[in-house]
């Protein structure tokens, strides 16, 4: 025991022997550090009740809260990535994939479900940032295309929630080509007059931002999401100046004309249902 710890009264010196609080009962806001009751936070759709910060969500939970309870049919859940290049950096791509699959219980970084939002039939897809930074590789690209095809088959709108660091480096040029692939697929929706709503959540960067995410008929962002092409650190190193306050945040994009609106997560269902009903000439949902 050092002299300092000896000075502290024994009542304060008890953190090591405290009674265990059940795991997961409480969580902390990643923005304001407020300690939040987990159940309440979940009821609030993972938006901090104290400061309004929108926390990151898994793709599945995102769709869980966005879609009506019934009906739901998952699109192409069986698709799995393969390591065609035998890519290896400090770790093998294969091992990274295994680890990501284990921790997220997903096969890759995009989940897509055909369902309804306030009784309007839609296909909704969502990125999982926890799966290798939501990076877009072959499976993400293919699932997105199949989501588009399902929309065409059923003549229903597409909604995509992006959360991604960009292209997946471990799939090298194949991942770059997913930018072309997802963008090309969207031209088919345009030809059929089917709406595509792109929702950018924190963060939407690089190859995902520079392809499908910016191509919505309606571009929406969640408050304060980081959205851009190049990462802030890369820009800082290139231009050698400090970036302006709020640079590449949703509010910045709205001001510069890149997105149509910023929508609070708790209003997302209502807002998208309302917009879609007008674009498809349906009565107010």
């Amino acid at each position: 025991m050092s002299w300092l710890t000896k000075l502290i009264p024994s009542k304060i010196r008890t953190e090591s022997s405290t009674k265990k609080v059940p795991e997961g009962l409480w969580s902390k806001c990643t923005n304001c550090n407020a300690v939040l009751y987990r159940a309440e936070l979940e009821r609030n759709l993972d938006v901090c009740p104290k400061c309004g910060h929108h926390m990151r969500l898994s793709g599945r939970r995102r769709l869980e809260m966005f879609l009506d309870d019934e009906p739901r049919v998952e699109i192409a859940p069986q698709l799995e990535p393969i390591d065609a290049l035998k890519f290896r950096d400090l770790k093998k791509y294969k091992d990274r994939l295994n680890a990501a699959q284990k921790s997220t219980h997903e096969k890759d970084a995009l989940v897509s479900i055909m369902g309804q939002v306030k009784k309007i039939p839609v296909v909704a897809a969502a990125f999982d940032f926890k799966f290798m930074g939501g990076s877009m590789g072959s499976v993400v690209g293919e699932k997105f295309v199949r989501s588009v095809n399902a929309c065409i088959e059923h003549n229903i709108p597409l909604i995509c929630f992006s959360a991604s660091g960009g292209a997946r480096m471990q799939e090298a040029l194949f991942s770059l080509m997913q930018m072309a692939k997802t963008s090309a697929a969207l031209t088919k929706l345009q030809k059929r007059g089917i709406p595509f709503v792109s929702v950018m959540t924190d963060p939407t960067m690089g190859g995902v931002s520079a392809s499908l995410a910016m191509l919505g008929d309606i571009n929406i962002a969640e408050p304060k999401a980081l959205i851009g092409f190049a990462g802030p650190r890369v820009i800082e190193q290139t231009v050698r100046q400090t970036l302006p306050e709020g640079f590449q945040r949703s509010e910045f994009l709205l001001e510069h004309g890149a997105i149509d609106m910023i929508v609070d997560r708790r209003q997302m269902r209502d807002k998208i249902a309302s917009v879609l009903s007008m674009l498809t000439h349906q009565p107010t949902p």
Binding site: L85, M169, A172, L176, A180, A184, T187, S211, I235
Partner: protein
């Protein structure tokens, strides 16, 4: 060290210097050393051939950015006639990192578009090191849509480290500009032929790289991120660029094996910069041959093929 030669080319540089020296001597002396010179020249050729036969991906990526490497306008001059450069995106500015315009290839009108790097310091700055801003991509888009209206085939030349990562570029929608080009090029009703002539850097390259036939010069590269960038993210150090170049498979040979490109255009011995005329001729042959193929293809067929090809990109299981 001769700066016009890369590190792995230094043995060639030394030999070349020796030849130059001998030439200088033979000019003012009676001794006939032309035999010696031609022997050394032969040796230089064999040496170059042997060095270039076994280049690593990292060495190739250095060649792709060689200071003497020919740029879009060097080829434009040699391949086309009547080139009229067209400027501006009609909205904001004329981005000189991308050049474009109408020209004739073998007498036939075409639209050419390419990234352009600068040769000396002033020009490098003016061309922003070949890194386009949104207005550059929007100029390219404008020219491509014009080409569609007037039924001109589009020939693009890719040579960029990437789209410019700057504050102004983000303000004006770099992401949207790139995305829009991918979207429009996928359905543009005219043949598009893309040639990577130097660095094919990520989304900034792809934004003029969606087409019906994709070629790469032998020592050019095409990748999702630069080897240095990949190294610093995945290896957490800038020192593993060579490993990253190897792992990503950025060379024409590897990408042809992976069926991501259609054609490798052979470079002259020692690289494109050692004989620009010969290089231009090879590119020209490829372009003429490609245009002839597409002249015989119906437009809906062409678009269908383009779409199918784009849809085939990727590897996965579970079907």
């Amino acid at each position: 060290m001769n700066l016009n030669f890369l590190e792995f080319e230094q043995p060639i540089a030394e030999l070349e210097a020796k030849i130059e020296e001998l030439r200088y001597v033979s000019n003012d002396a009676e001794i006939n050393i032309s035999e010696e010179i031609s022997r050394l020249q032969e040796k230089s050729k064999t040496l170059t051939a042997s060095i270039f036969a076994n280049l690593s991906p990292w060495q190739i990526s250095q060649l792709a950015r060689h200071p003497l490497r020919p740029y879009t306008l060097d080829y434009a001059q040699r391949i086309f006639t009547d080139f009229d450069e067209l400027h501006g995106d009609r909205v904001f500015a004329d981005d000189q990192a991308i050049v474009g315009g109408v020209a004739r290839l073998d007498g036939k009108p075409v639209m050419i578009i390419g990234q352009q790097k600068g040769r000396d310091t002033n020009e490098k700055v003016r061309r922003n090191f070949g890194m386009p801003r949104p207005e550059g991509y929007r100029k390219a888009l404008r020219l491509m849509q014009m080409a569609e209206r007037f039924k001109l085939p589009i020939l693009t030349f890719i040579d960029t480290p990437g789209a410019y990562p700057g504050i102004d570029a983000e303000e004006r929608g770099q992401s949207e500009a790139i995305a829009r080009n991918l979207y429009v090029m996928a359905q543009l009703k005219t043949p598009i032929i893309c040639t990577v002539i130097g660095e094919g850097g990520s989304g900034g390259a792809l934004a003029i790289g969606v087409g019906d036939r994709i070629a790469m010069l032998q020592y050019s590269t095409y990748s999702v991120i630069s080897p240095e960038g990949c190294s610093s993210i995945l290896w957490k150090s800038a020192k593993n660029a060579a490993d990253a170049a190897e792992a990503m498979g950025i060379t024409s040979k590897r990408l042809k094996e992976l069926n991501l490109i259609d054609k490798i255009i052979t470079e002259p011995l020692g690289g494109a910069h050692r004989d620009i005329d010969a290089m231009a001729k090879n590119i020209r042959n490829f372009l003429v041959e490609s245009i002839e193929i597409f002249e015989r293809t119906a437009l809906d067929k062409l678009l269908e093929q383009r779409y199918e090809r784009i849809m085939q990109y990727g590897n996965f299981t579970g079907d």
